[in-house]
């Protein structure tokens, strides 16, 4: 730390303006560990027992020999890391359906890894290493199937790793699998997984041998440069089987250098297996660490407490003209603050008011509520003691937050105001409507539109593993009344649009396997044309009715009901839809497929309260007419990030489902606010699904109820309440 110890020179210079570099370095700050070629924290091809900071997300690409890997990794919880991988192995070689061997066959392979941190470094004793237990390709075709137990210890600038591995990691430097002494069947390991996509528990820790691997990483004095050397126990024998393969390992020792260009961007170069050059590049980020300062901009309105001598007359509350004037003025100020006043009602005794607002600007809803409260404190007559604020989303009244004005005045600007205010607010489900006689925004019909470039990223498609393209999307909504709207979205394909691949091969109605056809070609598309009505049945129950072209592939009519009390961590929902499959080449046609189905689900939503994990279970009938259930688990961050995974099991057989055996996938949603230094509520969502198959396919509804209301229950408001005063 720069600074001074006595004397006048340094402070004089500082006050003169030479303050740059007067930093406040953290003590004991650790350097984030690097990734390996599998996208996991590790050496080069081998893992380590280290893990990334909680919630770290990374996209990485690696290449060596004839292998390319594209990895998406996520530190799911502080002790659990997950990876989804899409690999290309050239010249894998395989027999076709007629039994003819093709030595130049390229394998496109999906795999999933998970690693558990059993012990963090120094956690038990100061000298103890980190210990990790990993399962590589535990939910795929088994190409990389392996398990390992690994230990890592940091000694000054060196990180030393040693581990034992089963499966692919037991090909070199081995000893006999100790589990063989327990059961002879433990020596057998079958890595044939058929269509793949199934949990491969039957192979865990099996096989004749166990391999011993290890390595060292050196953080050099050059900032960001790490050197690595490792001994790999993977012999890549299968990759060499094809006569067309050029990959000939000559050593099990790999060496390499990785350089962190800046936080979040790394590149690496390697000499692999004594014969091949390798390279890697990764970008990473952390939901908990925004790319830009999150609090830059206009601060909240200062609150001036009411003077003891302030007039407290209540006559205004019976004066329609005064109420209208007050509401109009509030509307103007709130709009400047980023909120829209939808409705205003004053209690007849002049002691309380309710305002309904739409948050137009802030990623955090408590921030919008806090700023609204400050406007009310500044603008309302002194007689008003109670503010009731009802945030609205998509025209739906969500929850009502009651704030005592005297409490607000006693808390504002004081220490620990967040916790004190949270203890004093009341939260209930909003009533279906404001009291009779309330002021409403006179804005209907209200037309909204946006014309935006919509870049898309398609991953995990065989033969086309990564495609980046661009659509121009025109989205229009005509709001006819609160909750009642007409929506028309038009998408104009613009750049790098794929051609029509033709009909898919499927044993089921092609409800999703033909999806690429709906995105093909440069003709304008009509992804949505609907009439929607969102409403409340009572304080805790929400409803939705939708008719029209509901999604790109289906049109019809449907309805949904959701019961979700604000004080409850769980809710129940149900939806029923009658839909027909739209023509892929005609915006209003239904004749090509001549297919319709009644589909719907009962749903359970549960906010576990544990690291933001949210579970959802849907059970019902899917688009192909199959019956089953979907389990989803996502980690939702209060700042809008969400990373989730799901799987669906239905009565469709593995053979009928095809590649992957059953539907599963992961998705990531990144708030635009995380990347820009201004407030916005826009999000970017990327889905990394398996190949789109027809079993377990659900109707995609753009305004499903739970995503609309979930941010307004007590749990979620609590997590963001710290921003109430921001």
């Amino acid at each position: 730390m720069a600074g001074r110890r006595g004397g006048a020179t340094v402070p004089t210079l500082i006050f003169a303006g030479a303050v740059a570099g007067f930093g406040a370095p953290a003590v004991g700050e650790t350097v984030r560990p690097t990734l390996n070629l599998y996208g996991l924290t590790g050496l080069i091809d081998m893992p380590t027992a280290q893990s990334q900071p909680d919630a770290q997300v990374a996209l990485s690409y690696s290449y060596f020999g004839e292998t390319q890997r594209r990895n998406f990794s996520f530190q799911i919880l502080p002790r659990i890391t997950g990876v989804v991988r899409y690999s290309t192995i050239e010249n894998w070689g395989q027999r076709d359906d007629d039994g003819v061997y093709d030595p130049t066959y390229d394998l496109f392979d999906r795999s999933f890894d998970v690693q558990f941190t059993l012990l963090k470094e120094g956690e038990w004793r100061s000298w103890t290493p980190a210990i990790g237990l990993g399962f590589r390709d535990f939910l795929g075709t088994g190409v990389y199937s392996s398990e390992y137990l690994v230990a890592t210890k940091t000694i000054q600038d060196f990180t030393v790793t040693a581990g034992i591995g089963w499966g692919r990691l037991s090909q070199k430097n081995t000893f006999e699998n100790p589990f063989c002494a327990v059961s002879s069947s433990a020596c057998d390991r079958d890595n044939e997984f058929g269509e793949g996509g199934k949990l491969s528990t039957s192979t865990f820790f099996r096989g004749q041998n166990v391999g011993v691997f290890g390595g060292v990483e050196w953080r050099t004095p050059i900032d960001g440069l790490n050197l690595k050397v490792e001994y790999s126990t993977d012999d890549y024998k299968r990759e060499q089987q094809s006569p067309a393969s050029d990959f000939k390992p000559e050593s099990q020792v790999n060496v390499g250098a990785q350089y962190r260009i800046r936080e979040g961007i790394e590149v690496g170069g390697y000499w692999m297996y004594g014969s091949e050059v390798g390279l890697s590049v990764s970008i990473s980020g952390n939901p908990l660490r925004p790319l830009v300062p999150p609090d830059l901009g206009t601060g909240p309105l200062p609150v001036v407490a009411r003077a003891a001598s302030a007039p407290t007359g209540t006559g205004w509350a019976q004066n329609r003209g005064a109420i209208d004037q007050l509401a109009a003025a509030l509307d103007e100020i709130l709009r400047a603050e980023g909120m829209q006043l939808e409705g205003f009602a004053a209690d007849p005794d002049g002691r309380g008011v309710e305002v309904a607002i739409t948050n137009l600007r802030f990623q955090s809803d408590p921030k919008a509520i806090g700023r609204t409260t400050r406007v009310l404190a500044a603008g309302l007559p002194a007689s008003v003691e109670t503010f009731r604020i009802t945030p609205m989303q998509d025209g739906l009244r969500t929850s009502t937050i009651t704030i005592d004005r005297s409490d607000l005045e006693a808390e504002v600007d004081r220490p620990n105001a967040g916790e004190r205010s949270w203890e004093n607010v009341e939260i209930v489900g909003a009533t279906p409507a404001l009291p009779p006689g309330a002021w409403y925004r006179d804005a209907y019909p209200d037309f909204e539109w946006s014309l935006v470039p919509a870049p898309f990223l398609t991953l995990l498609t065989p033969g086309d593993p990564i495609r980046v393209g661009l659509n121009i999307d025109l989205e229009t909504t005509l709001n006819l009344a609160p909750g009642l709207s007409l929506t028309a979205n038009i998408s104009q394909p613009a750049l790098n649009i794929p051609n029509d691949p033709g009909p898919s091969e499927t044993a089921l109605p092609p409800v999703r396997s033909d999806q690429p056809r709906y995105f093909a070609g440069y003709a304008p598309k009509l992804p949505q044309l609907t009439a929607d009505y969102l409403f409340k049945l009572n304080e805790n129950t929400y409803g939705r009715a939708t008719v029209g072209l509901i999604e790109r592939m289906f049109g019809g009519v449907g309805g949904e009901v959701l019961w979700k009390p604000v004080d409850q961590s769980w809710g129940l929902g149900a939806d029923v839809n009658w839909v027909a499959q739209r023509d892929y080449d005609s915006p209003f046609g239904f004749g090509y497929y001549d297919y319709n189905v009644v589909t719907g689900h009962a749903s359970l939503y549960w906010d576990t309260g544990y690291y933001g994990l949210e579970a959802q279970v849907d059970a019902g009938r899917y688009l192909a007419g199959d019956w089953g259930g979907t389990f989803s688990l996502s980690r939702r961050f209060p700042n809008g990030w969400a990373v989730g995974a799901y799987f669906t099991l239905t009565d469709v057989t593995e053979e009928d489902f095809g590649e992957g055996s059953f539907d599963k996938g992961v998705s990531i949603s990144i708030p635009f606010r995380w990347t820009v230094p201004f407030e916005t509520r826009a999000n970017n969502t990327v889905s990394l699904t398996s190949v789109s198959r027809d079993g377990g396919a659900q109707l995609q509804v753009s305004n499903a109820l739970y995503p609309i209301v979930r941010n307004y229950d007590r749990n979620r408001l609590s997590r963001n309440w710290g921003s109430f005063w921001q």
Binding site: R4, V19, V304, L330, P381
Partner: protein, 232 residues
Amino acid sequence: MRRALAAATLALALGGCANGEFNPIVEAAVNEILPGERAPGEGEAPAAAGPVTREQITRADVATIRARLVGDQRPTFLFAASDNGGYVTFASSIRQTLTLRGSWITASRGLGWDLLSATSSRPDPLVTPIPPGSWPAMVRRSYEFHAFAPQGRIESFECRYELGAVRDVVILQRLHRGVEIAETCVGETRSFENLHFADAATGFVWRSLQWLGPQQGLIDLELVEPYSGRRS
């Protein structure tokens, strides 16, 4: 001494407050002191912005501070906008705010990384002036930063003082004679150093470099016209 606040902001909306007029006192101060930052009215040309003078501050009759973040080229003037139990919030023309208790910054908004609140043990010479020779050996300071919970993340420090030389400092054309005092704060995970210029006689801190947080770093604060109490 200058006064800052009035109860005139009540019924602001009923009085027809327009966009951006978030506080009449601040608006008046901005118009008086920083005419170049005022949005011109219809048919009105923006006034030329020149260096701010002491005379303008006197005319504005409002408590005023000047602050500059590390890395900023120019300081920003902020004007007292509210007093809540001795926590006085100063706002700039674009409504970035600093809340002070005495000469100690207890909160910031809109600068990049908000300091939600701060507390200190008593006696705190930054809050209540103490002649430099009598400053306590140690003051405990706690800072609250944003966390995903009603209560923010708290970081606490033990801060000790070291007196430096007596010298003169000019703050907007007004000379102050005082003592430079270094304040070294050590916590469990980090440490930082504040620097203060305290009045030689009263100990009132006229100027200081204060820590706002691990990301925000230091801010150079000058009390151009101290706050002296709420106008009745």
